[in-house]
Amino acid sequence: MELKNLLENQIVLLKDFLPVGVMALGLVVLLMSELTALKTRYPNAFAWIFIVFFSVGPLFVEPLSVLEAKGSFNILLSLSALVFGLQNWSLTDKSRQNSEYYALVGSIFIGAYVLLNTSHFLVAIIGLELMSIPAYLLTCWNTKKSSYEAGLKYFIYGGFSTAVLLYGVSWWYGATGFLELGSIEVLVVALNQSSTPFVLMTAGCIVIGLAYKIAAFPMHFWSPDAYQEAPTPVVGLFAVVPKIAGFVFLEKLTLVLMGTTHWQSVQKIYLLLAVLSLLLGNLAALKQNKAKRMMAYSSIAHTGFMLFPLLHASESNLSYFHFYLVLYAFMNMALFLFLDYYERKFDVSSLVDFKGLGSKSVFMGVLLLILLISLTGLPPTGGFIAKLLIFTGMYEGLVQSGDLIFLFILILAGINTVIALFYYLKIPYFMFMKKEAVVKKINPKSFLVVNFLGFILVFLITVSFFMPTWLMGIINNVNFVQ
């Protein structure tokens, strides 16, 4: 073996590592600058470093030949990093002016970037771990008793699902001899030779392992606790970044599984996950009284919704799925931005604390209202178009496969929209319909940056109702999966 030749080949390929390299460099710069006097001189320096490296990094969207896939959800990652950076930049909180905080978050971004762009299981697993380990630690960040508890639960579930995922991957490797999802035809041939129970077990293990990152039904238990205890900007990341990455990888997996003769059976796993996530998320959200906890369940329900298109992953259905994913990302970024705003400004943690806040800051109140309408999926917001497209996908599934299961899903999803409205309405209900004589105002300074960001995001969400074509155009023109 000519080692020299190999290395020379690698040097050509090294340019593909550029995004990861930029972000990893960011990590090092963050950690090194802790040692200098930078922090004392410029309190927001870390946020700036973070923004520079992590919102620029993912934008090097050269097709990665090693990763054998190209994607453009990278832009969402970059946007999310920008939002996170600006959100923290505007804070003067001591516990955020800390290089470890940004380094851990940065690691989530590296992991998401890798998972998003790879179709290789080993890289994907490392990507998942790069997201998970910092997530456990960030959940504990407030160093309270309850946040350690949430962190421990998250850690145990996370470790368990990693093991399950790896077990599934090992069987996959055993059956096919490949760790890549690259060549679908070869994999399909190999999988078709295996028995259905075997493929069910393998796919089941992998899907359940991924379900943990996207917070779907059997692996969702961590999310309410983690959402409640982690710092709110970080929760915004939990809800968006790992979910996008996990869903895109799941989609690649689905495209392989779909071609096999076992798809009819494997589909049932997806169905079970989707229906139970949707129902459980929505029903559990109904009785929550903490805002972030409720939103955790709502995001579980959204996960269920997003799994539906994968049941019938035709070309058009996948583009509906991408549309929903993009809007979901926008909505959740904005949502946790707003929750953070209310938390810092009015010390809001439970739903009751929203009492009378509508009249205290009408502008933000109306924006939050539009956002919640969009999360419910009512016009005139982008959430409606997204939901309409998912419904359309189910209808197409019904017509094309003649399977009445899609009719059942359609009705179930409709009923769930009504249930979802019930709890989403709670916030505007308290904000506008209840009066509170005294509002605790702990931070009189209003963050203009956050207001502006929130406005931009809500504006985007609304625009995507009136002009869905631009977003759909971007989505259709970019090749997301290979």
């Binding site: 058009s316 009512l378 016009p379 409606f384 419904f391 359309t392 009504v418 409205l421 506008f432 319909m433």
Partner: protein, 534 residues
């Protein structure tokens, strides 16, 4: 710029402007001015409105007037299809007269809103948004646009009931929202089925679009052969074809809004808790949106399925008539009584539509307009009493005629109109409906004879509760429950006189000269009937 577009966006733009202005009582006058301006525009349109549009075997753009059509977006779906959504507004006689009704009621409600004191700016903004959504809903001929306005009515309504309403306002507003949303989800499912099944040539060879255009959708040729809603699609579910199911969903969806038994339970709560102007809008306009939607999406798109299920539609109508009437008879709260009477009166709309005769359908549409004037008047009467004493219990009042003469006159007019006495608009409407449904039994055999007979009993019941209420509250010796009330019970103010007597005038006018409205409706109803009788 089309006049209809101006009607829709004038209030919405004013809402944005009002949002930027400082709060103050003058905003309520802006609100009235906007509605007044709409009335001026409407009158101008009414002069140009042609009452004899030629009917043809199918709907076309020529069946409508004041057409404005612009491309909104084309969302690519699948390989060479796209969802083609237009900004498409136009009116025929039915929607034009309903827009007229809406504007009148909105003016009345805006005048009645002068008594609102709490958070005026928010109120006016929401009111104006509601105004725009209502007009838009009646004017839209693209289902996407229709659905947008239909849903958009919910949110202002939710807050208007929930913030400015009575003691149990929160419960009522959430119930209202959830019921209506449930209905609109059913409609949404049909909407998806419709546009996915449709297959409209775009003019370019081999390229088709999924359309939500009502005119396109009303033509059988525009459905894809494999689409579930194609007329010859053989697939069934539980013995009904998919087109039948689509009609059932539309029927239930708009039936909730109408409201129809057994989905009516939100209505009494919402009416009782809403502030008077909002009750007026709710009873006067929003219920008609249900009926109008049923005509547009149910009868215009699924005429033969509607006829197949006519027996059931009429049955629900008859049950609503009797059930609403009996409940009204048993109510002690004046607003609740009126709310239940609305359930009963809207039952006639269903009965008339199901009959598929020109009298019946004309009666149904006439009933929508007539009830849209009568029930607001009743709510205003109850609002006057509530303003004075903050109490609406019928048993707490007696002999009000001796203290409040003008109110008594107004109340008697309103209740007589409601029970369908000749000279009032309700008489024309209910007579036409009953005639139509009797005739249906004899001609097309859709409805058995017992249905109009039972519905006639409904009129007797409504006479009973109306007369009994008048007798209990206004005649006999004067007495009220609390002594202090008797000082508060002064007669109508000039503003109240304006509202009540202008409504009374309109009701009488439509009762005495029905041809005025019938001319407007006639051609459109005939056009609809051509579809239904095929």
């Amino acid at each position: 710029m089309n006049w209809l577009t101006i009607l829709i966006f004038l209030p919405i733009l004013s809402a944005l402007v009002v949002g930027l202005l400082p709060t103050g009582a003058y905003l309520k006058k802006i609100n009235i001015a906007v509605a007044g301006l709409q009335l001026v525009v409407f009158s101008w349109m009414a002069i140009g409105f042609s009452t004899d549009v030629p009917t043809s075997s199918e709907y076309s753009e020529a069946s409508f007037q004041f057409v404005e059509r612009a491309n909104w977006f084309e969302l690519g779906l699948g390989a060479n299809n796209s969802l083609d959504v237009d900004y498409f507004v136009a009116v025929d006689g039915i929607s034009f007269s309903l827009i007229g009704l809406s504007i009148v009621i909105l003016i009345i409600a805006a005048v009645s809103s002068l008594s609102i004191q709490k958070n005026i700016k928010g109120y006016v903004v929401l009111f104006l948004l509601l105004n725009g959504a209502i007009i838009g809903c009646f004017a839209a001929l693209d289902l996407f646009l229709f659905y947008l306005f239909f849903e958009f009515m919910l949110l202002p309504m939710y807050f208007l009931i929930g913030i400015w309403g009575g003691p149990r306002r929160e419960y009522a507003s959430i119930k209202f929202f959830l019921y209506t949303l449930l209905g609109s989800i059913l409609i949404l499912i049909v909407l998806i089925a419709l546009y996915s099944s449709s297959y409209v040539p775009t003019g370019v060879e081999g390229v088709y679009s999924h359309s939500l255009n009502l005119i396109d959708l009303s033509k059988a040729a525009n459905y894809h052969v494999e689409g579930l809603l194609h007329a010859e699609q053989s697939g069934t579910l539980l013995g009904l074809t998919w087109r039948h199911w689509a009609f059932v969903l539309v029927f239930i969806g708009f039936g909730i809004k109408l409201p129809m038994f057994p989905f009516h339970t939100w209505l009494p709560d919402a009416h009782v808790e809403a502030p008077t102007p909002i009750s007026v809008i709710l009873a006067g306009i929003l219920l008609k949106v249900g009926g109008y939607g049923l005509i547009r999406m149910g009868y215009m798109l699924f005429p033969s399925e509607a006829n197949d299920l006519a027996w059931w539609v009429a049955l629900m109508g008859v049950i609503s008539i009797i059930y609403g009437g009996l409940n009204a008879l048993g109510s002690n709260d004046l607003k609740k009584l009126i709310a239940y009477s609305s359930v009963g009166h809207m039952g006639f709309v269903l009965l008339g539509l199901a009959s598929a005769t020109s009298e019946g359908v004309l009666g149904a549409t006439y009933q929508m307009i007539s009830h849209g004037l009568i029930s607001p008047m009743l709510f205003l009467v109850s609002g006057v009493l509530y303003d004075r004493t903050h109490n609406r219990e019928i048993n707490n009042y007696s002999g009000l005629a001796s203290k409040m003469k003008l109110l008594t006159v107004a109340a008697v007019v309103a209740f007589f109109a409601s029970l369908g006495l000749p000279m009032f608009s309700g008489f024309v409407a209910e007579l036409l409906t009953l005639l139509g449904s009797f005739k249906s039994g004899a001609t097309n055999g859709l409805l058995p004879h017992w249905m109009p007979v039972v519905a006639t009993f409904g009129i007797v019941i409504s006479a009973a509760y109306a007369l009994w209420t008048i007798q209990r509250m206004f005649f006999g010796p004067f007495s009220v429950k609390e002594q202090s009330w008797s000082d508060q019970l002064y007669d109508l103010t000039s503003r109240e006189k304006f509202m009540l007597f202008s409504l009374a005038g309109l009701i009488l006018f439509l009762g005495v000269f029905p041809s005025f409205l019938i001319d407007m409706l006639d051609q459109s109803v005939a056009q609809l009937l051509i579809l239904m009788q095929n």
